[in-house]
């Protein structure tokens, strides 16, 4: 009680003036499996009192004494309505049944019921349920969460063969990807062909493209918040799928006298995957394992444990061995202090490992990032006008950018270590959702973030404090002159940064079915992915901010118009955004980033900006559902010479980022023909990505050397692709426990050879210059059998 009081003492005065009111609180679950429901609306009919369940299914709302109809609704589920007599505080929990009577298929649901979504000041967000993604056609029969978000407006990627995704003209390292709150540093298996998220264990995911709530921070472009299922608390189930490329199996069920539940899932591709070459010695595969369990100590206390372990393994004859992947562990404690105050404490550990053995040169390369994260979050339902989220977090990072070891005694390689880097990132945040009037809703957030780059390493010093110097005579940037080193002890902070990050959202309801929204957010990012290639790879190394690298700071302004028509059957969302990022790292010509202990000698600090207009037209109900998304946008960067002198990178002019896409169109739809067959399809069109084409050639050492000028002035041919899928539910007895379905899919149905890259060089046999296109996938048909028991 005293804890509660001390935390909330600021709010006490407000409470004292409240009239005689009572609170209803409790949780909302899915009737079929006991999973908590995130984002369900709970409200008192014909009043403005309403709440939305949090990630653990908890809600709380307060109203004056009286008799009300309490309504609990969640899209795709039957609405529950009960009469309550509010003359004391009530604890009411609900279980919602899935709406199976209609053929309605929810495609992308907003986080609340349609009506309150119109009012919610949170914009630029999409919640996607796994059941939706499972309807989409997927490459090689494997359902893919990261690919599905690329069908949303404002989200693109570099096509096949590249890791990650780009949000609103942002870089791949500017996305915060969370799996049960743990940071995932590489969300791709096999260079982006699969995502690391197994759809069988994912409950839902939320993508914030802008107006990011203040409980998130650390990445300037987006947050992809993925939550695993808690496991079926009613009965034991097995489900899985057998495909041509990969197979998976998941088990879930109640445990410890129905006080808890668990889910365990594994997934693996086959070792022969993709191998075009003969010979059994070559392998490329991935596997991952997800585990989650929860236990209810009593109604006010619940524990959750979750973990993930994934690896990619590539072996090529005896010459090359490569493995990498994420592992995470999360322990959470939910505690309900009172019917208005909910809390969650999390302890999270995460590690990303990378190992590369090149036997033919006798080299073993290891790198990793590990982090410990402690968080304590509170949600306080102050009154029916105001909900307050607040909390604190601290993350300690250890970066091991690289260790080199000889593979055996015959190796010519000397062992070597790059300096380990250490840092602590901490934050306090407060977020208030407040109804200013019946029409006007406000979301006000503030995050205070701090970053300490810790010692345990030496920091180089440079003449004139210039790690990079412009060579005026030769016209290029080169490393500065190292004058010495300062050794810092492990416990000592080398440099620290702190930033106030205000967040603001405003929604004005024009009428029952239309609203306008505005948002602003400032976010700082203290970690940077070092990559001077167009496509990021698993080998790319992250580095913390420090004496030579300042934190990236973004400011994003967005405004939108939201409209529903025909009773919510259709909806239209339009948003405009403008985003700037300060202190964006750029790489000098000829920079070398791998195994470099002094990255500061290869980079300059610049800025980037992106702006665009997004349209999303959805059909939410009926036999046919789907959406059309269109984005027109621009993404540029500029890097002046600054302290290093000279004109800067690319002559100091604005130039297109590698992820600038003028046009981005995606069309996706699914059609339920009958109980047996359903079909789905998607089509994607993107302007080709900016690249640098040669503007001439000359001879040197008998080689024709292509000449490259200003960066990213040409473009690859446009990217487009059509995918098709059909799902067959064979006839079966309605009450049979075994449920199976066949999924037939075709990726890239018209066999478009989309260029992953175009390179320029000389034909070895003819000596003639030519342009060579690398295309990863042509048409790929596949079949998967999914089962549930």
């Amino acid at each position: 009680m005293s804890t509660k009081l001390s935390i909330c003492f600021l709010l006490v005065t407000t409470l004292m003036f409240a009239q005689e009111k009572f609170t209803v609180s409790g949780s909302v679950k899915d009737f079929a499996n006991g999973e908590s429901v995130f984002g369900a609306s709970v409200y008192l009919e014909n009043t403005s009192a309403g709440a939305v369940t949090n990630a653990y299914g908890f809600y709380s709302l307060t109203a004056p004494e009286g008799t009300y109809n309490l309504v609990v609704s969640y899209l795709g589920y039957n609405t529950v309505k009960v009469e309550i007599k509010l003359n004391k505080n009530l604890n009411l929990s609900f279980e919602l049944e899935e709406d199976t009577t209609s053929l309605d298929e929810v495609v992308i649901t907003a986080e609340e019921s349609e009506k309150s979504n119109i009012r919610d000041p949170q914009m630029s967000v999409a919640l996607i349920k796994t059941s939706t993604i499972k309807q989409m056609p997927a490459v090689l029969g494997e359902v893919d969460l990261v690919k599905s978000i690329q069908l949303l407006p404002g989200v693109t990627n570099n096509g096949e063969g590249s890791n990650g995704f780009n949000v609103r003209g942002g870089a791949t390292d500017q996305n915060l990807v969370l799996l049960d709150e743990a940071i995932i540093f590489n969300e791709s298996h096999l260079f982006g062909f699969f995502s690391v998220f197994n759809a069988d264990v994912v409950k839902d995911m939320k993508l914030y493209k802008g107006n990011i709530p203040s409980n998130f921070g650390g990445r300037v472009s987006s947050v992809l918040d993925i939550r695993q299922k808690d496991g079926n608390s009613k009965e034991f189930h097995l489900n899985g799928g057998i495909g041509l490329i990969s197979s998976r199996l998941a088990a879930e069920g109640p445990m410890i006298k129905d006080k808890g539940s668990f889910i365990v899932a594994g997934r693996s591709s086959y070792a022969h995957l993709f191998l075009q070459l003969s010979g059994e010695e070559n392998t490329a595969y991935f596997y991952d394992l997800n585990v989650k369990g929860n236990y209810e100590i009593n109604t006010n206390n619940r524990l959750y444990v979750s973990g993930y372990f994934g690896r990619d393994v590539l072996n090529f004859s005896d010459a090359f061995h490569n493995s990498y992947g994420n592992s995470t562990f999360n322990l959470r404690w939910n505690h309900v202090f009172s019917d208005k105050l909910f809390s969650n404490a999390s302890f999270i550990y995460g590690k990303y490992n990378y190992d590369l053995i090149l036997d033919f040169i006798g080299l073993d390369w290891v790198s990793s990032i590990s982090n410990f994260n402690g968080k304590y979050d509170f949600k306080f339902y102050l009154n029916n006008k105001t909900t307050i989220d607040f909390g604190a977090s601290a993350i300690t990072y250890t970066f091991n950018p690289g260790e080199v070891r000889p593979t055996d005694e015959d190796s010519a390689i000397n062992p070597g270590n790059l300096d380990k880097r250490r840092a602590i990132e901490s934050a306090l945040y407060l977020n208030a959702d407040h109804k200013l009037s019946d029409k006007l809703n406000l979301q006000l957030g503030l995050r205070f973030s701090m970053f300490n780059r810790m010692g345990g390493q030496a920091i180089a010093t440079y003449a004139n404090n210039q790690p990079v110097v412009y060579n005026e005579t030769l016209g290029f940037y080169e490393s500065g002159t190292k004058t010495g080193e300062i050794e810092y002890d492990k416990g000592k902070s080398i440099i620290d940064f702190s930033n106030f990050e205000p967040r603001l959202g405003l929604a004005y309801e024009l009428n029952e079915s239309a609203s306008i929204k505005m948002g602003y957010s400032r976010i700082s990012q203290y970690l940077h992915l070092l990559s001077n290639t167009a496509n990021t790879t698993p080998l790319d190394v992250w580095t913390p901010s420090g004496p030579f690298i300042k934190p990236q700071i973004s400011n994003q302004y967005s405004a939108g118009y939201f409209k529903e028509f025909r009773g919510g059957k259709y909806s239209l969302e339009t948003e405009a955004y403008f985003k700037t990022v300060d202190n964006r790292i750029d790489y000098v010509d000829g920079s070398s980033l791998i195994a470099n202990n002094h990255i500061e000698t290869e980079i300059l600090s610049g800025e980037s900006r992106a702006y665009g207009l997004e349209f999303l037209l959805r059909k939410n109900k009926g036999k046919f559902t789907g959406w059309l998304a269109y984005t027109i946008s621009k993404s540029e960067q500029k890097t002046p010479g600054g302290n290093a002198g000279g004109p800067g990178i690319n002559y100091g002019k604005w130039y297109n980022t590698a992820y600038d896409r003028t046009h981005d169109v995606s069309l996706t739809g699914s059609y339920k023909l009958n109980d047996k067959w359903s079909f789905s399809s998607n089509f994607i069109y993107q302007t080709g990505r900016p690249v640098t084409y040669p503007n001439g050639q000359y001879e040197y050492e008998g080689i024709s050397v292509p000449i490259y000028g200003p960066r990213n002035t040409s473009r690859l041919p446009s990217y487009h692709r059509l995918d098709l899928a059909a799902t067959l539910n064979p006839n079966r007895k309605p009450d049979a426990r075994w449920k199976g379905e066949w999924v037939f899919s075709i990726y890239n149905a018209y066999n478009r050879r989309n260029a992953a890259s175009i390179s320029f060089g000389q034909n070895l046999e003819t000596g003639v210059n030519e342009a060579t296109r690398t295309a990863i996938f042509g048409i790929v048909p596949s079949v998967t059998y999914n089962f549930k028991f």
Binding site: E281, L314, Y693, E701, S757, Q762
Partner: protein
């Protein structure tokens, strides 16, 4: 290392084809290929400097030879000037050059009224200790490769350029090496050819010319970038950029030339692949 990753990825799944794409063409610039290489065991008196101008990327003609330029190299210590004769085909030659280790030399080219200069020091080169052939050492387990061995001197930072030229090929294979993780060791490097079928690999009877050069750090940075931007299809290669050498235009700095002035000793070996089974 990204290159190796890409090799694997491409072997696993990528497919490539030659396509027509339009490329821009910039205004021509002067290219100076001034590589004064002193082969071990010779007196190094015959040297050639090549001048040309850049041309459009798909141009099939031979390089645009530059004639009428004045080309000299001066030894800084004694002011000795070596005049290179214009052969009217873009080559400027001399047969009386006198290389001396650790001496600084300055190149001057005067062309169309503009003066281009660069200064470099002549470095000695580590000898190649051994050249062998094998099948199991390279990337592909069954393909023939040629191996070159040399001893990296300890206590100093070294940079190397290795040039392999199959006499049947149009152009050489270049390899840039830093001793960062190899310092003081016997270094072994290989050249193995691969392609769509076995005919693209080395066959017994193939002849490979091998040059090893010790190079300066600045030249290493130059040639590393040049190699990375001329080698084959690699989507994980750094974004290509303009490569600037060490030669400056003293008259008009905006009209800078491409190419490099390098002066170094080289060890030369020839390997003839023999039947091994």
């Amino acid at each position: 290392m990204k290159k190796y990753i890409y090799i694997v990825v491409s072997l696993f799944m990528a497919c490539t084809d030659v396509v027509d794409v339009d490329v821009p063409t910039a205004e021509p610039r002067l290219v100076i290929e001034a590589s004064l290489d002193w082969e071990k065991g010779t007196i190094g008196q015959n040297q050639t400097i090549k001048l040309s101008t850049t041309r459009s990327f798909y141009d099939l003609e031979s390089p645009n030879a530059v004639t009428g330029a004045t080309v000299t190299v001066t030894r800084e210590s004694d002011g000795e000037i070596y005049n290179f004769a214009d052969n009217n085909n873009g080559n400027y030659t001399i047969n009386t050059f006198d290389p001396v280790f650790n001496e600084a030399y300055t190149l001057e080219v005067i062309y169309e009224g503009e003066s281009y200069t660069a200064t470099e020091t002549l470095l000695p080169t580590t000898p190649i200790t051994k050249v062998t052939q094998s099948r199991d050492n390279g990337f592909l387990p069954d393909a023939l490769e040629v191996n070159v061995f040399f001893k990296d001197p300890a206590d100093e930072t070294n940079f190397y350029l290795l040039k392999f030229k199959d006499r049947d090929d149009y152009f050489p294979y270049l390899l840039d090496v830093s001793d960062e993780f190899l310092n003081g060791n016997e270094v072994q490097l290989f050249y193995e050819k691969s392609g769509d079928d076995e005919d693209d690999e080395f066959q017994p009877g193939d002849i490979v010319d091998i040059n090893l050069y010790n190079i300066s750090e600045r030249y290493y940075n130059y040639i590393r970038l040049l190699i990375s931007q001329t080698s084959s299809d690699n989507p994980f290669a750094p974004v290509p950029v303009e490569i600037r050498g060490n030669i400056i235009n003293n008259t008009n700095s905006d009209n800078y030339p491409y190419g490099y002035f390098r002066i170094t000793e080289t060890d030369f070996k020839t390997h003839v692949f023999v039947a091994d089974n």
